[in-house]
Symmetry: C2
Subunit: 325 residues, 2 copies
């Protein structure tokens, strides 16, 4: 028979665009993180094959959609890629784990060049020592990236730190100043388009463009006896309520300082960790011992789940509700 | 101080839409698959905490975007959800593994009701015994779902089956007739909108709406000594080239039967498995012993990577190139 003619929708080529792209990503990843260890299979088969120790598997997913979580007039495609992987790693950090592997589902409009997006993903993979071991490339009306990340604890160690473990009298900490990302976004928005590049390395702008996952902080807090932990992705004043909800407790915060109050409470995407612990000196000593910035004490866990106060006022449940319509 | 006023973009509410949604999914999942085993944490924390045995971890991701991989004029949102989880499970099946857990990143336009989408995801989670243990909900310009799935092999068993293991003289099988999904799509397209519901349970339409992951088939083939395996997602005539490329071999196929030739070769999304094996009788006996439909022998692996023939003609590399522009 003659070779079959392609039906509508089929294309013919020596290799598909997807296959070529996979080759590029595999090579670029190897340049940053080396080849897969003996016995492991990373990108290029139906699924990755990964060795796993005796401990539990942590697993999470997060997604970043252009125009929803990132304004490509203000940040680069590389920043979007960085963010997508880093915010998923942050979820692992918030359990006290270390990231191990990522798989990445990417959607891009036809004709767009996803190269910078991939670069940002690879930069984050290198920064968090989290190789991209598989992925999926797809057409989509806007740029979007969904990342799933595995995480591990060391063998025989303290268990993963959940949101639900806070007890009355525990001390509440955050790992750093809140509101930086929101302040950086405000700075970018107020700048003329032509001058935005000048702000690229401004610390607040950088906090918005290249959020950090607090992996060492989460790991250290878990080992120092943290009772509950989560990352601040939607803003302290909604995420702190979530931790209190999960734990069935209340909280009392003295007045916060730094940035503007609204930004510190409501400005999301800082990815600092909220930590509850019965033993504040142990936490502070562990952070000092690990050469980490001192955690900031923000308040106390209280018994009454109805008590949610800032100073002497109720703290409203404020947060970025961009995530679902 | 007075409670801070919400800056632009912030909303206030007793619980966020996302939190309520998570509660719904958790309850619906428990109704289908029970609660998380002791010691595991599923939906609702920063990351899932999962027990894992001594064997390797399989990990994959796939995504489905409305208008790209699914036409919502022809199939339902529930079908899109089903497909998103099932095609990721198919990747695990193609390594010879069983799915263990899924995490799901969902994007939906503001104001749309994702309920049917979730139902389809949960139906697939129940069908493949693959609990959804975490997720992310986001706004997006169109409905999209990215699913990452873990998979496991039993301890001390044959290793995962890669694409690259085919050797000269191996026999090539597929697990079932190809072209069903393409034929079902054609049937839906040719039907008047008002009559499409009548076709919902037509076997070809069902193959398109509710593709099956060949988990038992892949598991059985691995244990019966398969040397290479992959699933047919983009069409036999591109996926067979991919397997041959990975293995550095050629292939010779006698003429195929069933559906139309072009659909069988080029029509993607059947998710049947391509299996190479040096021991055809062992494969056939194992499928019979597992009460699985007999695998269909389609050809032979040849030594020359340049030989890719159907009958006596070269087989062009045809495939659906919808995946990246």
């Amino acid at each position: 028979v003659a070779p079959p003619k392609p039906p509508e929708g089929l294309q013919v080529g020596p290799t598909s665009a997807e296959d070529a792209f996979i080759q590029h990503i595999r090579a670029a990843l190897a340049a940053r993180l080396g080849d897969a260890p003996e016995g492991e299979v990373w990108i290029g088969d139906d699924a990755a094959v990964l060795s796993w120790g005796p401990g539990p598997l942590l697993l999470t997913t997060d997604s970043v959609v252009a125009g929803v979580h990132a304004d490509l007039d203000l940040v680069g495609l590389d920043d979007l890629g960085w963010k997508a992987l880093s915010v998923a790693v942050s979820d692992i950090a918030a359990m006290g784990g270390r990231p191990r592997h990522a798989v990445v589902a990417i959607g891009v409009p036809a004709g767009s060049a996803p190269g910078p997006l991939i670069e940002g993903l690879l930069d984050a993979a290198a920064a968090w020592h989290c190789p991209i071991v598989g992925g999926d490339l797809s057409g989509a009306p806007v740029v979007l990236v969904a990342v799933a990340v595995t995480g591990a604890l060391e063998e025989g160690s303290a268990p993963a730190v959940r949101r639900s473990g806070a007890s009355t009298g525990d001390h509440l900490f955050v790992t750093g100043a809140l509101g930086s990302s929101a302040a950086g976004l405000r700075r970018l928005r107020s700048a003329e388009a032509a001058t935005r590049g000048e702000f690229a390395d401004d610390p607040l702008v950088r906090a918005h463009r290249r959020p950090r996952a607090r992996v060492d902080e989460g790991w250290t807090a878990r080992r120092a006896g943290a009772s509950a932990m989560m990352d601040v992705s939607d803003g302290l004043s909604i995420d702190l309520h979530r931790l209190a909800d999960a734990s069935g407790v209340g909280f009392a915060l003295p007045l916060a300082e730094g940035a503007t109050l609204a930004e510190a409470l409501g400005g999301g995407e800082d990815y600092e960790l909220i930590i509850a612990t019965p033993d504040a000196p142990a936490l502070e000593a562990a952070f000092a011992g690990a050469d980490l910035p001192a955690p900031q004490r923000i308040g106390t866990v209280t018994a009454d789940p109805g008590q949610r106060v800032l100073g002497d006022q109720p703290l409203a449940r404020l947060g970025w509700e961009h995530r679902i319509g």
